[in-house]
Symmetry: C2
Subunit: 217 residues, 2 copies
DNA sequence: AAATCGTTTCTTGTATACGAAAGCTTGACT
DNA sequence: AGTCAAGCTTTCGTATACAAGAAACGATTT
């Protein structure tokens, strides 16, 4: 199950898109990118197909490929789905999680707290990711965990700014503790609800953020 | 947003794979398929990238592409995710569904009942699909609806045999009615639970089916 | 007789070349 | 001066040619 050439190109391209090197709506020049990667157009076009399937770019026949604009509506929808998927992970994890994994969650939360108290939002962000990925895998459903990770990654650029909002870190921290408690108690419904709310608030914050940006224009 | 050539090839290929023309594990011959579609290898390879991204085929570098084997475990995982996604659709739909859509659901169920009483499992299957797709769209979340439809399609070949199981149609029918009742009442949690159970039973039935097949070998 | 190494052939991966379509520029006409 | 059309340029889509790797086959050796 080794990786092929166009896979690598697709990965780096995906990374560059998500990291914002190419603004939404930008046309991706085949020839330019080809020589940038030191290959011909062929492997690049194959990489494009992958990105198109993943929904990151849009191919307009005879026009070229463009970085997809994700509108505010679609973004909110994706946050909503993320909330539901994490809820599902939590529901299943509550029934299946191991003691070792619970300990890992505690550890991640301890590091979260340390980061919060130090006011290091970047560190908090990293540990927060660890926390959530642990829950994905503890769903005991590799397919679900994969889908969760995929969407999580997709939303990453839009989640980044969230933690700088006033008081969000502390609230997030408190929610984490409640979530772990529910998982430890094996309360599936409660774990699901807590996780849903925990993620949904990101969508709402994002909504407010967008509204603010719009008003500032 | 028109469709390109390799898109069409990818679609037909996906269809042929899901319909079982190519057994899992089969190697897909580029040249053979190319001349079968009357094109060169290039557009075919581009179609392969899409299918690989969708997880239907696996590309082994310098070896070729193979139809992916979906093991029983992964299949059960996918059913579990389907259950959770449909539950999410139901939860959201309960808050957002229109009267017109409720009427459509009633109509679909009426056609389901007719098919059941006539013992036409194929017709039941079709109307059952209509019913579920209505719920997807009524989630009011196009992204979620898309993901639901994608997974639904992916599981189609494995759901097909389900309805022939003794008494499944009648039970399914009864569940549909309960689901609509919950949606009409706007009871989000109940709609979600009912849908989750409604789909989960398919996974279990499938599980039994698999066990039966294994034992029969 | 079996095993191993070399050769040959087949297939994949990539480059390049060519045809076609879309957009832009230029020029003519109203 | 503005608008429309025709040609020109650019870029996409596809075919084809070529290179490299993998598998199969055979020959030689132990």
């Amino acid at each position: 199950m080794s990786r092929s050439r166009s896979d690598l190109i697709a990965e780096t391209l995906e990374d560059e898109i998500l990291r914002g090197r190419f603004a939404p709506g930008t046309r991706l020049d085949e020839t330019k990118l080809a020589e940038e990667h030191g290959v011909s157009r062929t492997p690049l076009r194959e990489a494009f197909q992958k990105l198109a399937a993943a929904g990151l770019i849009e191919q307009q026949p005879r026009r070229g490929v463009f970085v997809r604009e994700v509108g505010a509506v679609e973004l909110l929808e994706m946050f909503e789905v993320m909330a539901e998927i994490e809820a599902a992970c939590g529901r299943l994890a509550a029934q299946r999680i191991t003691d070792a994994a619970l300990a890992d969650l505690d550890a991640a939360n301890a590091r979260c707290r340390a980061a919060m108290e130090a006011g290091e939002s970047d560190a908090y962000y990293r540990e927060n990711e660890v926390f959530h990925h642990l829950i994905y895998t503890q769903s005991g459903n590799r397919f679900l965990a994969g889908e969760a990770a995929r969407l999580h990654r997709r939303l990453k650029p839009f989640r980044r700014t969230q933690l700088h909002l006033r008081g969000r870190m502390a609230q997030s921290m408190a929610e984490h503790l409640e979530i772990v408690a529910a998982l430890r108690a094996g309360e599936a419904d409660r774990a699901a609800s807590l996780l849903r709310a925990h993620i949904a608030v990101q969508g709402e914050k994002f909504h407010h953020l967008m509204a603010g940006l719009r008003a500032a224009e």
